[in-house]
């Protein structure tokens, strides 16, 4: 009983302390916090909202790229507007973006004020109390205390795992430590008080690069970032040899990277099914957001296994064929962003004839970003009487040579046991 009471007391005292600190931080920093809005020129109404914070004396404001992505894509359709803590409004100009880390820097020309958020020099410690600031659902600026839980595991582009409610509208708001230094930027939530933040060093890097970046048009900045990101991704994927991983009667590749995670299922629990089916699906659970109609920067792989000893070979193949004709790429695209797919097909086989596939490769090119493609591959094995494996991958936003290297390695690493 005594122990329980102690726990209760210490808990309540720490809550009180956190509350006080949060209020203090909020009061000091509120003047450098802004709500960022995209205003649709035609209707003069808000089309998206987010938060932003001043990062220098001369009026540069950091926010999320996705808050202003509409303007970055269609500058003639929108204006970027801010509202400060006193309710004053004005226009902002877009200076630079980092689509990979979902960051943007906009500039405020008038009504400059001196206060700004300093960027932290080091990452917080695990368990450290940090404070997320922003304007959720257009309800007004708030501060949310929470805990720093280190970097999100198994992710390709680093994100901080934050325990605390990050809500829509807080995107682009700063997350500060007890001394008011920025340690992260609100970016996403997966509900239930799990939030994700962009680490402060990404913003520091964007600021370091600022002078070089603003020379280039936004589209070119995005283009270069996409190219660099896919190179980093595929270099990492192709860095070491892939290991064969058992999948039913076949081997599929294990890419030896932790940011591609696999899930599996089969119909072994349905004894009256006509065929035994198993599926393994490996993908990254992050993507690069360019606009509402375009996401990219993903790798996903899918493997299906079919077996039916009792079926005649012809019937097996007739039924198996219907599993093979509706492959698609996983990323979101629209006509404005990309061409239609062009495809090639052939019977392919490894040199030792361990497996023979009907292979299909389809590519489409990005319209605004030269040398970047989406590649979709699917192959169906056609050499066993009553069993088959379908292997599939999609690479979104990749260069030709790296895509080809990846494709060939993928083709070579799916074999029979």
């Amino acid at each position: 009983m005594r122990v329980l009471a102690f726990v209760f007391l210490s808990l309540s005292s720490s809550i009180c302390f956190a509350k006080e600190q949060a209020q203090q931080i909020f009061q000091e920093l509120a003047p450098s916090l802004y709500q960022i809005r995209l205003i649709d020129k035609a209707t003069s109404e808000k089309s998206s909202i987010g938060s932003g914070f001043q990062i220098s004396e001369d009026g540069f404001i950091a926010t999320n790229y996705h808050v202003i992505s509409g303007y970055a894509q269609y500058p003639e359709k929108y204006v970027i507007e801010y509202e400060d803590h006193t309710g004053e409004k004005g226009q902002l100009t877009l200076k630079t973006v980092d689509v990979i880390n979902d960051l943007a820097i906009v500039h405020l020309q008038q009504n400059l004020q001196q206060n700004y958020f300093p960027i932290a020099m080091a990452a917080p410690k695990n368990g450290e109390e940090i404070y997320s600031l922003g304007n959720p659902h257009d309800l007004g600026m708030i501060v949310v205390p929470g805990t720093y839980n280190g970097l999100k595991k198994e992710s390709f582009n680093e994100r901080i795992h934050f325990t605390g409610s990050v809500n829509p509208g807080m995107s682009g708001g700063p997350v500060v430590n007890a001394s008011g230094e920025v340690v992260g930027i609100n970016v996403a939530t997966s509900g239930n008080s799990i939030g994700f933040l962009i680490p402060h060093d990404k913003l520091a890097h964007l600021i370091d690069d600022f002078d070089r970046q603003i020379e280039k048009p936004i589209q070119q900045q995005i283009s270069e970032q996409l190219l660099a990101n896919q190179k980093r991704l595929l270099d990492q994927l192709l860095a070491q040899p892939w290991l064969p991983k058992t999948f039913a009667q076949a081997f599929i590749p294990d890419t030896q990277t932790d940011f591609i995670r696999c899930w599996g299922n089969s119909n072994a629990d349905k004894p009256d099914a006509l065929m035994f089916k198993a599926v393994t699906n490996c993908q990254m659970d992050e993507y690069v957001y360019i606009s509402d109609s375009l996401t990219t920067g993903t790798v996903d792989m899918e493997f299906h296994y079919f077996e039916a000893d009792e079926l005649s070979s012809n019937r097996f193949y007739q039924l198996y064929q219907s599993q093979f004709n509706r492959a698609n790429a996983g990323n979101r695209v629209s006509k404005e962003d990309i061409t239609e797919f062009a495809c090639q097909h052939d019977i392919t086989g490894s040199e030792d004839n361990n497996i023979k596939n009907k292979s299909i490769l389809c590519v489409r090119a990005y319209k605004k970003y030269p040398d970047i493609f989406d590649v979709m591959f699917i192959a169906a094995s056609v050499d066993k009487q009553n069993k088959a494996i379908v292997s599939h991958f999609t690479l979104a936003g990749v260069q030709q040579s790296l895509a080809q290297q990846f494709s060939q390695r993928f083709m070579e690493s799916v074999t029979w046991k």
């Binding site: 070979s313 064929q321 006509k335 019977i347 040199e351 489409r364 009487q385």
Partner: protein, 322 residues
């Protein structure tokens, strides 16, 4: 001199033909006549024919409704008959012919007629119908996604489908019947189902080559032309069997009908085509290993080929941007 008298129906069909070597012929409804007609508009003793010095003369016996030579001239007095003359009495028609009446030169059996005759034989018809039915049932069996197959229902569906497809040859037969042409149901069914079965063959060829050949080889246009030709041939044969019509007219109608059908299909496809495809369209034909004859290319060769693909879409992206 002999005379030949033909009874013709109003639709110009021959009902009966009589040859007389006498010099006196009586025609009418009465039973004392040489030619007895049952037409109620004909009198008991209606016409009298007489041969005088090798020339036949015709005389109306003051009948109630009279007689007409050709289309209008009413017979009043005895008058001479020429070979080929047609006389209308009541609602009946008689044609008079002399033994030296010229005939058209004989028609040789042509190849098409031989084929059509062959296709109309019962063993062939049965064979074609069973090939079609069995193929349909087989495809339904192969595509059946469940473990328990209801074979009765498969067979029933197969037969229903075959019955459904016989509607077309039956329509053709009905049309020829309405046109007072010989109704050759057997030949229609035989010819139609030979072509329909050939369509199955084209489908198989398409699948086989689609499966084995790489995308560098496209038979699409050839196969489309082949199906078009098959459809044309089927209609041509249907019309050949059903109607008496000039060669040019038959070709025109068959070509028109085929073009109409393929044109409609094309327009239908066109109207269903999405403005922009976010999904890839590829040849997904696969067959069991027994049908695999292609020598596989290595992954390296396959990926090497894809360089063209990248160039194609890159070019497209540039064109659209410009």
């Amino acid at each position: 001199m002999e005379i030949i008298i033909e009874e013709i129906s109003r639709g110009k069909k021959l009902i009966g033909r009589h040859k007389f070597a006498t010099s006196q012929i009586q025609i009418g409804r009465g039973y004392d006549n040489d030619i007895i007609l049952s037409d109620p508009h004909v009198c008991a003793n209606h016409l009298n024919l007489e041969c005088i010095d090798g020339q036949w003369f015709i005389k109306d016996l003051e009948s109630l409704n009279g007689s007409r030579m050709g289309s209008k001239k009413v017979l009043i007095k005895q008058q001479p008959i020429h070979s080929g003359d047609i006389v209308t009495i009541g609602k009946s028609q008689l044609r008079f012919m002399m033994p030296d009446h010229p005939v058209v030169s004989s028609v040789k059996f042509n190849v098409i007629e031989n084929i059509v005759e062959y296709l109309g034989r019962w063993p062939i018809i049965l064979l074609m119908l069973s090939v079609f039915t069995v193929l349909n049932i087989m495809m339904m069996y192969l595509n059946s996604p469940s473990k328990e197959i209801n074979y009765n229902s498969l067979v029933l569906w197969g037969l229903t489908l075959t019955l459904g497809y016989t509607i077309w040859p039956l329509i053709c037969s009905l049309m020829s019947h309405l046109n007072k042409h010989e109704v050759r149901i057997g030949n229609q069914i035989g010819a139609t189902f030979v072509i329909i079965n050939l369509f199955w063959l084209v489908d198989f060829v398409e699948a086989f080559f689609g499966f084995n050949l790489s995308s560098n080889w496209s038979l699409n246009w050839f196969l489309l032309a082949l199906s078009f030709a098959l459809a044309f041939t089927m209609f041509w044969l249907n019309f050949y069997i059903a109607f008496e019509q000039s060669r040019q007219r038959r070709i025109k109608i068959a070509l028109g009908l085929t073009t109409f059908i393929y044109g409609s299909l094309f327009l239908y496809d066109l109207s269903n085509e999405p403005e922009f495809r976010t999904f890839p369209v590829y040849n997904s034909t696969i067959m069991s290993p027994a049908f695999l004859i292609a020598k596989p290319s290595t992954p390296a060769e396959f990926i090497n080929n894809s360089t063209d693909l990248f160039e194609v879409v890159e070019q497209q992206a540039k064109e659209i941007e410009d």
